[in-house]
Amino acid sequence: MNWTKKDLLEIKDLTKDEILLILETAESFKEISLREIKKVPTLRGKTVITLFYEPSTRTRTSFEIAAKRLSADTINISASTSSFVKGETLKDTGKNLESMKPDVIIIRHSMPGAPHILARTLKSSIINAGDGAHEHPTQALLDLFTIKEKKGKIDGLKIVIIGDIMHSRVARSNIFALKQFDTEIVCCGPATMIPPYIEKLGVAVEYNINRAVKDADVVMMLRIQKERGRISYIPSIREYAILYGLKKAHLEKAKKDVIVMHPGPMNRGVEISDEVADGEYSVILDQVENGVAVRMAILYLLIGREQ
């Protein structure tokens, strides 16, 4: 099948076939990072701009390496140093960037729908690297890639997502992506952090971590933040860590070959204990490695799309 979409804004927009195409393409690109000369000339002369209004080392570096390994030129713009501080609107920033004729702009923003503003106004391909609590499509795709790599399949698995689901773009994108397959998804966290109506997406809700991880094939941990706005959702980080921090004992209830994932960066000792983070079930570093391959695949497909 052919890739025809100009932008990658939401997993919700992708068909199952499109998801599989990305995963298949990523598999072929993964091998490049294992060579001595980690470069192919495929995107030579193309320009990729990363526009990050929220800080990030992991995602931005991952995109930068992905672009560079495909021989593209990259430019990084972060909010603190940009015209954003001078009050320029997102739309104007986008239009200014467009005059440099970038092929792809990768944007991370604190507000849902921000990438869509650029996608509507600019000719460049726009990749959503995270828009508020809405979506983080490339994270979900690399998570699926990792699951497929470790488990050989995605269908028939039980996946447990633990943490602040309400404010997590990683949770949302993963739920949308995994629901394209035959999966059982359990969302676990404090009731204050689980959005009402989430069951309508076809996921189960569980407030008790022990019950949640029973027979899990995949456990996905999310970062926790104590305050959100004027009121607190949890009394303290300490209590959260006691109730929802993933410890080795919990994994004994999961399947023998369970894998533990985390989008990073981790709060060691809070949502994930040291021994689990560094333990045999953790595939967190594989996620990072796969992130480069998945992002290479996405850049390749977007730039080469059928027009």
Binding site: T89, L90, P112, G113, P195, G229
Partner: protein
């Protein structure tokens, strides 16, 4: 001017009229309504209203004219032009201008400007509290003397229950209603309805209870002090339930809803189109059904527009930051007529929600076509199809989620005080 409107189907709910009749306007009053009024040859306009509806001019109890202070969004001149086009001969304009209409001089300014430049009647609504701060009552008596017809802190809810009580009590002196915007801001974190759409989009939410709690509170206080309360832009099934229940044993409760609350669900917000950002937010399918039921069985007395025009830059940004509101005067009639086409309301019931009921609430001598009344008349057709094009709006506010919609039903002629203020090419 002498205007003869012939052969239209005259729908005048107050006088229980629904038949083909002619209407003769002389000067600024309705001189005669009857069958086959003979042309005398001295008429300035003879309008053939065959196949059209002739009704009393509509009264909109909730619009934002933005003047003074936000003239770049709308002015009294452009807002009333839009109103006239939409079939409204009277509008009540809210107080959240800049400066706030919390004193006599702003009220007088608005009234004067409207007389000079307005295309329809403008009745200011005074602020309940000074500066809309929710603390001290504004000089309601002075404003009443200057011409306000109601008080409201719309845009905001009166947070302090004690202040609301005082406002309701004080309003009894003048016999004017308190128009209440119901929103518990401690429960509402965001901008869209808490429902399935919000799970999908990750936007911060406004649960239905944020509106319902204040609906209940405001009614209870009004009941307790025996005052007149009008709940504006109600949007949830829960609100309809509460109002239905309370109306059974207290009669000074009225409420209105807006066309967007029975035309769009929360799903419209999924693509982050800021034209769907409105407060209260678009709700779930269940709520829409309840609103329609509420209109059908009379629990919801009035349809108002909450016309909230905005300049393009205020809307052209991230959803969280964009201004809230829909420019609704020019689509209200057609959207409301879908209720007629769907069998929810008869034409008579629909007209009543825009005429008799608002007039009664505000104690205005309009909203019906009795002989001798002011000639505020409209002619509309419920079947003409047209496509909404925001670029043809007379309002400065082009912020509508209905752009491109094919609607059925159009206002063709608006007469205010005996003068034609709007005429469509089709008539």
């Amino acid at each position: 001017m002498k205007i003869l409107i012939k052969k239209g189907r005259v729908i005048d709910p107050k006088n229980n009229i629904d038949e083909i009749l002619d209407v003769y306007i002389n000067g600024n009053i309705i001189e005669k309504i009857g069958k086959n009024i003979k042309e005398k040859g001295v008429e300035d306009f003879v309008i053939d209203a065959t196949d059209h509806i002739v009704a009393p001019g509509f009264i909109d109890v909730h619009v934002h004219l933005r003047e003074p202070g936000y003239e770049y969004k709308e002015t009294i001149k452009t807002g009333t032009m839009a109103a006239a086009k939409g079939g409204f001969t009277s509008v009540v304009c809210m107080a959240n201008t800049e400066p706030v209409n919390d004193n006599r001089s702003i009220t007088e300014f608005i009234i004067k400007k409207a007389k000079l430049e307005g295309s329809c009647r403008v009745f200011p609504c005074g602020a309940i509290t000074k500066g809309l701060k929710g603390e001290e009552l504004s000089e309601i008596g002075d404003m009443f003397d200057a011409g306000i017809v109601a008080i409201s802190d719309d845009g905001k809810s009166v947070k302090h229950s004690g202040v609301l009580r005082k406002a309701l009590e004080y309003s009894k002196i003048f016999g004017i209603p308190v128009i209440s915007h119901c929103e518990d801001t401690d429960l509402s974190h965001g901008f869209i309805n808490e429902g399935v759409a919000s799970v999908l989009s990750g936007l911060d939410t406004v649960p239905s209870i944020a509106e319902e709690i204040i609906v209940q509170r405001d009614i209870m206080i009004a009941k307790y002090v025996n005052a007149n309360i009008h709940l504006t832009h109600i949007s949830t099934a829960g609100s309809v339930d509460i109002i239905a229940r309370e109306k059974r044993n207290y009669k000074y409760i009225t409420c209105d809803t807006c066309p967007h609350y029975f035309s769009l669900t929360e799903d419209a917000t999924l693509k982050f189109d800021t034209n769907t950002k409105v407060n209260p937010p678009l709700r779930s399918k269940k709520d829409i059904e309840a609103i329609k039921e509420g209109l059908k069985n009379g629990i919801i007395d009035i349809i108002a527009t909450d016309h909230a025009p905005h300049d393009l830059p205020s809307k052209d940004m991230e959803f969280n930051l964009a201004a809230s509101g829909i420019s609704g005067l020019e689509t209200a009639l057609a959207l409301s007529l879908t209720l007629f086409h769907e069998g929810v309301l008869t034409l008579g019931e629909l007209v009543k929600k825009f005429t008799v009921n608002p007039a009664r609430l505000l104690k205005l001598p309009y909203g019906d076509l009795s002989e001798g009344n002011a000639a505020d008349v409209i002619v509309f057709n419920p079947y003409i199809e047209w496509i909404v094009d925001k670029n043809t709006f007379l309002s400065k506010g082009k912020n509508t989620p209905f752009d491109g919609w094919k609607l059925k039903g159009k206002n063709l002629l608006t007469i205010v005080d005996g003068k034609i203020v709007y005429r469509d090419g089709l008539i």
